[in-house]
Symmetry: C2
Subunit: 196 residues, 2 copies
C-alpha cells in the first residue's frame, strides 16, 4: 500500500507565504485565488523576486529557518513504519530539500527551478502537467493500492485518482464543493485513516 501526501499545508507551512513574511514583500502572498493561471502567477512571483534582486540562495536561507508543522515528523515516522510514503508536491526541489531533511528524507516528487548567472531564479520547470494525479496513476499501474491526502484545490485530481482520497485540514469551501472525501483535522485522525 502506498500513501501519497501533499507537502504544503499537510506537513510544512505554505512556503511562499513564509517567503512573503520574511522578505516583507506582500505581493508574494498572491495565490492561484488571486491569479488563477499558475504560469502567470509563477512569472509574476519570479518577476517580483528579480525586481527586489532576491536570489535563490536568499530564499533558501529563509526556507532553512522554516520548521515542519508541529507533529508532522512524528506522524510521518509512524506512517513510514507501516507504509511506503511519497510526497507529491507542486513545489521545487531547490526550495523543499532543507524541509525534507527535517522530515527524515521522505521521497519527494516535485519540480525544478533554473538559476541565472546572478543567482536569481530564471525560470521554473514542471516535470509534467497534472504531476500529482499522474504519479498516483503510475503507482496504480505498478500494481499498488494508493491512498492520498491533501488540503487544497491542486490536490483534488490526486485524491480522485487514488483508491481513497482524504482531506487534511481543508478550508470549509473545498469540503462543501467536494463532500465525498473523508475529512481529517489532526495527524492522529489522518494516521488512523491511512492505516485502515
Amino acid at each position: 500500500m502506498i500513501c501519497c501526501l501533499d507537502l504544503e499545508g499537510v506537513l510544512v507551512p505554505e512556503i511562499w507565504i513564509k517567503v512573503a513574511e520574511k522578505t516583507g514583500i506582500r505581493d508574494l502572498r498572491l495565490t492561484t485565488r488571486d491569479v488563477p493561471n499558475y504560469d502567470l502567477l509563477m512569472k509574476r512571483r519570479l518577476g517580483i523576486l528579480a525586481e527586489h534582486q532576491i536570489t535563490l540562495a536568499d530564499i533558501q536561507k529563509i526556507i532553512q529557518s522554516v520548521e515542519p508543522l508541529p507533529g508532522a515528523r512524528k506522524f510521518l515516522d509512524a506512517l513510514r513504519n507501516k507504509r511506503q510514503v511519497f510526497i507529491l508536491s507542486d513545489t521545487y526541489y531547490e526550495f523543499a530539500m532543507p524541509l525534507m531533511k527535517k522530515l527524515g528524507h521522505p521521497t519527494l516528487l516535485c519540480n525544478w527551478l533554473s538559476v541565472d548567472s546572478s543567482g536569481c531564479i530564471a525560470d521554473y520547470h514542471l516535470r509534467q502537467k497534472n504531476g500529482k494525479e499522474k504519479a498516483v496513476l503510475a503507482f496504480k499501474k505498478m500494481g499498488f493500492q494508493v491512498m492520498a491526502a491533501g488540503d487544497s484545490y491542486n490536490d483534488i485530481a490526486m485524491l480522485e485518482a487514488a483508491d481513497e482520497g482524504i482531506f487534511f485540514n481543508p478550508p470549509d469551501k473545498i469540503v462543501q464543493e467536494f463532500p465525498d472525501f473523508e475529512v481529517t483535522r489532526s495527524y492522529k485522525e489522518l494516521l488512523r485513516e491511512l492505516l485502515t
Copy 2:
C-alpha cells in the same frame, strides 16, 4: 534526478542466504545469481520451507537479526540528501520492513507474501512482471532522469531501462556478460557515480 537501488547485495546481505545460514538448510542458499528463473527459484524455496515447517514468523525473527551491509546507512543518508531514492527489489514487504527501519525508511517498491492458517508462507505475489524495469520506465514517463544500481541478473532490465545503469559489487561472470555498465566496488565509488 531519481536513483533506483537494488536491495540485497547492494544495501543488505542476501536475505535467503541469511535464512539458509540460520536454519542450517543449505538448499535455501540458491539465489537469482544461481537460478535466473525467479518463479522456479521461489517455488523451490517455498517448498523447502513447507517441508521443514518453517513459518513466516520464524523467518521474520531471523531477518530481525540481520544488519545492513557496513556503511550502507551512511551511503544512503548521503545519497538521500541530494537525490530522491527508491529501493526496487524482488523481495517481500513481510521480509524487508525490519531492514528498512534500520536504513532510515527509504521508499521500497517490492512484492507480497500470503500466509496459510499454520503461519507458513502459502504463496508469493509479484506486483507486476518485470517490476524493477517497469518502475524505472514509469519514473521516466513522470519526467525524471533515472539512475539505477544493482548487482545481479534480476537487475539487468532495470539498469538497461535507466538513463544510466551501474553495477555494484557484481560477480565477474555478469560483468563479462554485460560489459557496458560502469562497475563500482565501494559505496564511495557508487555515491560518486550516482551524484555526477
